[in-house]
Amino acid sequence: MNEDKSIEYLVGKKAKLDVFVEPFSFKIVSFLDDLSKSLDSKINNKNFPDLKALSFFCRKNNILNLKSKHQNNDTTRFGLGLLFHITPSNIPTNFAYSLIFGLIAGNSNIVKIPLKKFDEIALICKSINHVLGKTKHVKIKDMITIIRYDGKKDLLTKKFSAICDARLIWGGDQTIANIKKFDTKPKNIDIPFSDRYSISLINSEKFLKLSEHKVLNLIKNFYNDTYAVDQNACSSPHLILWNGRLCEKAKKKFWFYLDNLVRKKYDSPLISTVDNYSRLASELIKNKNIHSFKNLNKSLYVVTLKKLYPNLYISKSKWGFFYECNINSLKNIGHVTRRGLQTITYFGFSKKFLKAFFEANNFNGIDRVVPFGQALNINLIWDGYDLTKILSREIEIR
């Protein structure tokens, strides 16, 4: 594509403009399955839970399962062509999911990865290169280029923007605005994954009925949704909503158990101490809606809000800093669902009940409603986009 020295090529040199296949193409499924095996062999004894999850996602069975859910065999679809992915610096495996979604939809991909050099990224790229080395995957080589360059090098972003058919832009609003400055082909589609926040919804009465074992399990799931990524994923909950008649008792128990687990398990850098304390100090000064706060440990701050009200602003906290509020009626969720709300993780409600509730209430801004423990499970439908559909085109044949 070019010989620019400011680009580092981690995989491939030339994703092609005109290579596209049908969604869930057999070639892609087979490539991903081999990638899964290669990842497994490289991580076998190492502690990379996120790589294990990635490998699990790539397995043939999982992809075929997704295919049966997402593919309508009566239609004829192909990938859009060339995708340009601008991926985020923080979840190391995120770029891989972005790439995999692009491949599954049938596209050729240029993936810009963050400058930060994560072990996970090196390992994934090594695996991809290894699998691409096999003769049977030679055609996939034209579909994957993974590059690293300084995002300030506008010329490169400009160049890729001009040739691609869709841009997947992961990042803050600032990043998205910056990328959108660069011209694209007329039919290009931009898919921005902007800054979001998420909440949890807990039924206090159901929570208090749980056995000790189940409480521990629930807390572990909550921990995995939050602390596993320093609470800094868009889908990690920032605000906990308590419903039911026994909120106070339930809160006490919930935070007590979480405090224990966090003290035992969570390790965070010194800057988190300053971040959390500074956030608390700032909230105490500017937020009139604070009822009280708890500082259970350096990585567990809970600010209890007096009430929810329309357009309540929730700051996107991290490092184990939570806001909580009681809600008498689930309809009050509507106060915090404005455009930024991505995921609601819930406990103590049935899927059927929630489906009926959200269908009846038509809130603005909710993308996902999932049980505790599934906040980070990235999927083909993300941020409300059905990616295999958006990243492919349909040929209407009558």
Partner: protein, 355 residues
């Protein structure tokens, strides 16, 4: 404040630990109550913390404001019309500026205290000063950024100020040789930011164009942090050795301070320790914000008796340091000896923001 008038007549390092603790306890508690009454924002903060004991707290219990908050809020304990000057600093974590509001009395005290401290470092007489920077062409008298404020602050110790860099930021050898010709026989000052000293006096300077014998009377003072040159992996010892070997500069002293806290300025002694004067002190806190023992590394909290125009008498910084455990020296006089190990890094978060 009345006690400052008494203090200012003494050597800046005169107070032994027992007397100093007593003085600080009394006056910092006074300042906490004072700012509680005068600053609405500070009052909200203390109320939010449920801080009750405003009269008789021990030093370690005096509440601290995280330094970052000076970027978000305009803390004022005076009326707006009493603002004499505004100090700005750019922090490292974001592009926002800290804004520090000073009235006339605070500005005057700051200069007095700096002078008292400086007397111990360099002596009483004013000296010629070579500034390793460009001359700041437009200096608004009422508002200073960190660099302008520092140069301006130190300029009171100079009887002649010469700027080494031309408008393009290159070394002007003609200016340099004129300055040295005139001043090399007696003690003179070189002042600059750590990064500027490194860039110009260590990296860029053409040794063929200078005579290192002319630097033997130089006293070099630098500060502003090592952050910009951190990636060069240069230690303090190496930095000083370079200057000594290449330019013949024997006396090199780092200084440490916060724009956010007037009165907190610390100069290295010749043993390499920063020493707190009568006007300021330091506490080191661990990851749980508990007090560290001597010799343990943690977050730096700074105390100062000076700030009355804004609630800056107790600030939690984002710097990492330690109070020296042994090998205490006798330099300057009394005062806590400490080391600064740099600034907190912006940690590599997992999550999905930023590119």
């Amino acid at each position: 404040m009345h006690f400052l008038n008494n203090l200012i007549n003494q050597n800046a390092f005169s107070l032994n630990p027992i007397i100093k603790t007593k003085l600080f306890k009394k006056n910092l508690n006074f300042l906490t109550s004072f700012h509680y009454k005068k600053s609405n924002l500070y009052k909200k903060y203390l109320n939010g913390l449920n801080y009750q004991n405003k009269q008789n707290s021990n030093l370690s219990e005096i509440p601290f404001l995280p330094v970052r908050l000076f970027k978000e809020f305009d803390f004022l304990s005076i009326k707006k019309k009493e603002i004499f000057k505004t100090l700005f600093s750019s922090g490292t974590t974001s592009g926002n500026l800290s804004k520090i509001y000073i009235d006339k009395a605070n500005a005057l005290n700051q200069i007095k205290v700096l002078q008292k401290i400086f007397n111990n470092v360099i002596g009483n007489s004013r000296l010629p000063m070579l500034v390793i920077d460009r001359e700041n062409t437009i200096l608004d008298r009422n508002s200073f950024n960190a660099s302008a404020a520092a140069i301006k602050g130190f300029s009171i110790f100079a009887n002649q100020i010469v700027y080494l860099l031309n408008e393009k930021g290159n070394i002007d050898y003609k200016i340099l040789s004129n300055f040295l010709k005139q001043n090399h026989k007696n003690k003179f000052l070189i002042f600059g930011f750590t990064s500027n000293i490194y860039l110009n006096l260590i990296k860029k300077i053409n040794k063929k164009k200078i005579d290192i014998n002319n630097f033997s009377n130089a006293f070099l003072i630098h500060g502003g942090g090592w952050k910009k040159i951190e990636e060069k992996k240069i230690s303090r010892n190496k930095f000083n050795a370079y200057l000594n070997k290449n330019l013949g500069i024997k006396n090199v002293r780092n200084y440490y301070g916060l724009v956010e806290q007037i009165g907190s300025i610390f100069f290295e002694c010749k043993c390499g320790y920063f020493i707190a004067s009568n006007y300021s002190d330091i506490i080191i806190r661990d990851e749980n914000l508990n007090i560290c023992k001597k010799g343990e590394t943690g977050l730096v909290q700074l105390l100062s008796l000076l700030p009355t125009s804004y609630p800056g008498h107790s600030i939690l910084t984002e710097d990492i340091g330690e109070i020296v455990n042994d090998h205490e020296c006798k330099c300057y006089g009394h005062g806590t000896r400490f080391l600064i190990h740099g600034r907190l890094r912006n940690a590599e978060l997992r999550g999905c923001s930023n590119i």
